[in-house]
Symmetry: C2
């Protein structure tokens, strides 16, 4: 399915979102402008803003409030990526050098803060204290999820429930806010707001599970990072957790965490995950989230906007990078 169909119903508004992001880039300092240009390039899929714009069609359509909401969400998302790259000490993202690699950690910290500030400013343009509250709770959930992941790194004995809780905060919460925020700005009915919230949550969960599968199954060149890098950083994701469940007493993850720089144990874990049904099982979990997302849309009228939301759920499931 072509990606274009996802964006089709809201193409005009997405152009305005891009204009809002371009306005953030313009800065008296050419170095800062360059840094913002790199991280806010138009190459992304813009999934979150697209969801926000589509959700805003189920009620009173108010593009002048939806565009700042969508731009704010994309900016917040990008700001967290900039800080994540400092936190993970990543040199590349999608094959391009990160801000911390191009410049230094200090620049990346400041750049992220500057983008958070702009995101906060844009969200206020919705003129709704309820939407701003939603935004602030999301920020808390994301920061908590990220912290939880870091603090539990190399900690053996986590289970899939803890994993789902963590990715709900770290990733799904912003998808939820995109859908729920869009519906709130449109003053949709409580039933429709709840439907879109559930949609966002499940699409976000599917997104992260697929991301975590790609870390084991993906192509290093397409991913722009080495296969198995989550595990090497001590982060337990679904495939690794399923491996541990199958071999509770003796498995390479346990050995890897006991000696966290062993390429040999990493290679063994990758081999066992790739040559078993673990990735298929993980894909089934992602598909289940996709199905729940689509089912959640049931109460909404059958419009091209709803169809586009279903397309997004399918795209999230099928993406290869």
């Amino acid at each position: 399915m072509p990606v274009v169909s996802i964006h089709e119903p809201v193409q005009e508004e997405l152009a305005k979102v891009q204009a809002a992001l371009d306005a953030v880039k313009r800065n008296e300092f050419s170095l800062l402008e360059g840094m913002l240009g790199n991280v806010l390039s138009a190459s992304g899929k813009r999934l979150r803003p697209t969801i926000a714009l589509l959700a805003g069609r189920f009620g009173e359509y108010r593009p002048h409030l939806l565009v700042p909401l969508a731009a704010s969400i994309e900016l917040l998302h990008t700001a967290t990526l900039v800080h994540d790259d400092v936190i993970d000490a990543s040199d590349t993202r999608r094959g391009r050098p990160t801000t911390n690699a191009r410049h230094h950690n200090a620049a990346a910290v400041m750049l992220g803060d500057y983008m958070f500030a702009h995101a906060a400013n844009l969200i206020c343009q919705t003129e709704s204290i309820e939407v701003v509250k939603l935004f602030s709770r999301t920020l808390m959930a994301m920061a908590s999820g990220e912290l939880t992941q870091d603090m539990s790194a190399y900690e053996y004995g986590q289970d899939t429930m803890a994993y789902f809780g963590r990715i709900e905060g770290k990733t799904a919460s912003l998808f939820t806010t995109s859908a729920e925020g869009g519906a709130m700005v449109a003053t949709a009915t409580p039933e429709h707001i709840a439907a879109l919230r559930a949609y966002g949550d499940n699409v976000g969960m599917a997104f992260q599970v697929v991301d975590d599968i790609l870390d084991f199954s993906g192509d290093e060149a397409e991913l722009g990072k080495p296969v198995g890098s989550d595990l090497m950083q001590g982060t337990l994701t679904l495939p690794a957790l399923l491996l541990m469940e199958r071999h509770p007493d003796d498995n390479p993850v346990k050995k890897l965490f006991a000696d966290n720089h062993s390429e040999e144990h990493l290679a063994e874990a990758l081999f066992m995950i790739q040559n078993s049904t673990i990735l298929d099982e993980s894909r089934a979990v992602a598909r289940d989230f996709r199905d729940r997302a689509v089912a959640a849309l049931e109460p909404l009228p059958d419009t091209p906007d709803r169809a586009a939301l279903i397309d997004i759920a399918d795209y999230v499931l099928s993406r290869q990078q």
Copy 2:
């Protein structure tokens, strides 16, 4: 003048602000709780929240909205300090190890983000989109000021106007928001809001000028950092700018920036600044800001709250660390 008099009229509310900050500290992760405990210890002067609470007395006094505002401001202030220490690669703050020194940069970045998120959440409790907007603009001004400082580091040829603009964003903006935000929550008259905004701006400017003087005149043990560290980091503050104005063609700052690790040129710059009238001139500038702050309060009724605001301006001018 004893510091206690500053806090006297709002002691009860300050205790509630501390309780709100203590609530932020409580966390399921003991490591995070420990980190938050270190940065949110009750040892600070709480100047900004005190100003917010006092400003909130000029109108309809609503402590249930003012306390979250004041707590949010202190949390935001502390979050920026945590990130500043990463940006400046500082090992100590007020003689105690920084978060990045105790743990690592990643932890400090996440801790700061987590605190920003909580600050955003608290500010929403004011239930005023106008106050949240003020907050977001302040965040932008602070981030811009910090970025401007970093990007113009070791850049010779700045003037005092650029310096005042930078410290207005970096420091004064949060003082302004404390005073203006408190007055807005109290639905004070436009005239009183404007008076308190001008007060906050000028107190904040005085605060930063004094800070920059202390970097040259202070005691290393009391400051908890080496004398002259701004200059060593390439940051031009008022005393250095005055030195450059006096000796435009040949001065040690020029040499220091050309060869930015020379202890010899730093020592020479320190000697020339300390053994001239430059620090007195700088103190006169700080006093001028203090006087403007006090004059700005003229339209307000002569109450113990106004007297406490004047005490704060005097305290800012007289502080030695």
